[in-house]
């Protein structure tokens, strides 16, 4: 890397502090999850009642939980859990929602109306209520939590994709594509999608953060990942009656959630500022 490139990079970083801070926080979050795949300080389910609720020590950097399990280990695997939930749930929304939104914008007419009204109906259901019903029907578990969160990402991406795609369709060159005999699909693929990709990326970052919060809330209500697999929300739930005895049980998992969400939100804002300051994204609940 040349000195000029480094200088340019620094200059860009200075213009987008959100991006830099967000990238660093998110990097730590992702790194913790990746490291947990190959190494954790202890086994996440190693119960040792005699060593429960200990403070930080050389053996347990962040201390132990109510069953004597290593908290750092559980936080690291909890990060992995959050990333899996976030990636899959946002993936579902991004794929299905974008296809629907693009199709609605390309076809217009009844399809457009159907997608818009369908999104309205799904939006009308408070996400947490539907998630409670879904997990009551199919039982608690990571997959059901992912599906419940994923469903609510579909209309988000459908709306964003539809709105952004309609703007592109309003431009001369998209219409020109149709005029020279290209199919709606081809125009969407060649012109619309590349133009709205940045909006979708920014929205995906924000939804990732929303998904992590949603998973934590579900797990807190006892509806997420099954024990003994660690989930940040579940750790908070377990801590509630114990926090008077040992506050760190409630403080650490919540701090981890806030850290990850903050990182992703900053990253999303930074990306938006860098890619196009006028981008419109939705931020919900």
């Amino acid at each position: 890397m040349t000195a000029r490139a480094i200088h340019a990079g620094r200059a860009r970083a200075a213009r987008h502090p959100n991006l830099v801070i967000g990238a660093v926080l998110t990097g730590v979050f992702v790194a913790a999850a990746l490291v947990s795949l190959v190494w954790t300080p202890h086994a996440f389910d190693a119960v040792a009642i005699a060593e429960r609720m200990q403070g930080p020590s050389a053996a347990h950097w962040l201390g132990t939980d109510q069953f004597g399990r290593d908290i750092l280990t559980r936080l690291m695997i909890g990060a992995r859990n959050s990333i899996v939930v976030g990636v899959v749930a946002v993936g579902i929304g991004l794929t299905v929602g974008t296809v629907l939104g693009l199709a609605a914008a390309a076809r217009g007419g009844w399809l457009d109306e159907l997608v818009a009204r369908g999104a309205d109906i799904v939006f009308a259901f408070p996400a947490i209520v539907s998630a409670i019903l879904i997990t009551a029907t199919f039982g608690p578990g990571a997959i059901n939590a992912i599906v419940a969160i994923g469903i609510f990402n579909v209309p988000v991406f459908a709306r964003v994709a539809r709105g952004a795609a309609r703007q592109v369709w309003g431009l001369e060159y998209a219409r020109a594509g149709l005029a020279i005999g290209k199919s709606g699909f081809a125009v969407t693929r060649d012109h619309v999608l590349p133009n709205i990709a940045s909006v979708l990326i920014v929205q995906a970052t924000i939804q990732f953060a929303v998904a992590i919060l949603a998973e934590a809330a579900l797990a807190y209500l006892g509806l997420g990942t099954r024990p003994p697999a660690p989930s940040w929300g579940r750790m908070l739930f377990d801590a509630q009656t114990l926090m008077a005895l040992d506050p760190k049980l409630a403080v650490l998992p919540g701090a981890a959630i806030a850290f990850a969400v903050l990182g992703l939100n900053l990253l999303g804002d930074g990306l938006r500022d860098m890619l196009d300051p006028r981008l419109r994204t939705e931020r919900i609940g």
Partner: protein
Amino acid sequence: MNKLLSGAALAAAMVSSMLLGTAAYAQSKDTLTLGMTLEPPHLDPTAGAAAAIDEVVYANLFEGLTRIDENGVVRPQLAESWTVSGDGLSYSFNLKRGVTFHDGSAFDASDVVFSFDRARAADSVNAQKQLFAAIDKVEAVDPHTVRIILSRPEGGLLFNLGWGDAVIVAPETAHANKSQPVGTGPFAFVRWVKGDRVELKARDAAQPIQTVTFRFVPDPSAQIAALKAGDLDAVSNLNAPEAVIAFQADANFEVAVGSTEGETIIAMNNARPPFDDIRVRRAIAHAIDRKAIIDGAMFGFGTPIGTHFAPHNPAYVELTGTYPHDPDKARALLAEAGQSNLKLTLKLPPPTYARRGGEIIAAQLKAVGIEAEITPVEWAQWLEQVFRGTDYDLTIVSHTEPFDIGIYARDKYYFNYDSSTLKAVMARLNETGDPDARRALVGQVQKIITDDSVNVYLFQLAKLGVWRKGLEGMWRNSPVQANDVTGVRWK
């Protein structure tokens, strides 16, 4: 100097106000605010299984012919006395006179006939209808005498009639008891602020407690804070054992660690492989470390049990040493049974003992090579899938009915245990009246189920009562689910 002075003055003021406060307190305190974890769904004990109903109304608001006292002994209540025929098929009850319902109407034999016929009717929704299964006929001999004719001898009838599900209600008001309960008890219903509290008022000015408020505080940490702030005078059973520790060191509070009828067990589906092999059931029993579970899930509160029987009962047989914690033995038994890499499900209902205990048990099973997948379930699902559908491998539950060892002789009970030896002993027990012979037979039943390792017997749930110093007459033990405040007073 100035600061010091004012500090001293403040301290003096505080001391004097505390002294004055206590003096005034002792004379005027005739109210009681009792914290409960769960809110009752309604207040009719004859139409639901929820323990919280009885915890408000039992003995306070509703009365039965008999009642069960703090030590689990049957006592007269609306029936002053009774006689039993020689063949044990006819019971004659002499009713208390001058008793009225809260609406002013008089209580007599016709109310008893109505209440029991209602509970036994074809459209009855009584959760414990089987309590009345042996009753053939209930008749009013005269306004103050009731005769109950049985179709078969039922040694437990007097005990059964002491359950909350067998209380006496009035025909005019029975339909509205869910929201406007009318009974014969010393306390009458005042109001129910849904989601917060039920208030009862004493009918007799001589009652030491004139107003009782049952407050529903679902969260244990909130219960603790409310006790310390004086918003609650007592919590009869804190469901967070970790919270008790804070009160044991506090001179303002009394902590009563008492007994319940709750045998907490790991139930195994005996009919489903691999549990149809006794070696597997015994291996699991050897894999479990009771002490770690009691310490880890219950913070040390709970008495280890080795069989399905309450340790405070004189007929209890100490069998906790039958399957000592021995992972090597467990692995050897599993190998002998030809089992390796066992994968099982462990379904956990909502109570803390199950959810916390389950995580520890899963870890203990893992140590002997059994992978137990934890599945938390709601009560609705537990009742439907595990209890009625017997679709499970392992589950953790506390059996809170008193003297319920008879469930092992039932056909198709959820752990699917079927032993003709045990059924024969149980049949003899039901026909036996002599206390010593009964005790020997009950001991035999306990040994059979432990020897067969039907379930893993963990511990007897403790009742963890906390109340303000000076409160007397609170139940320490919980032979039935009740918060009987009729004998409670402030010192």
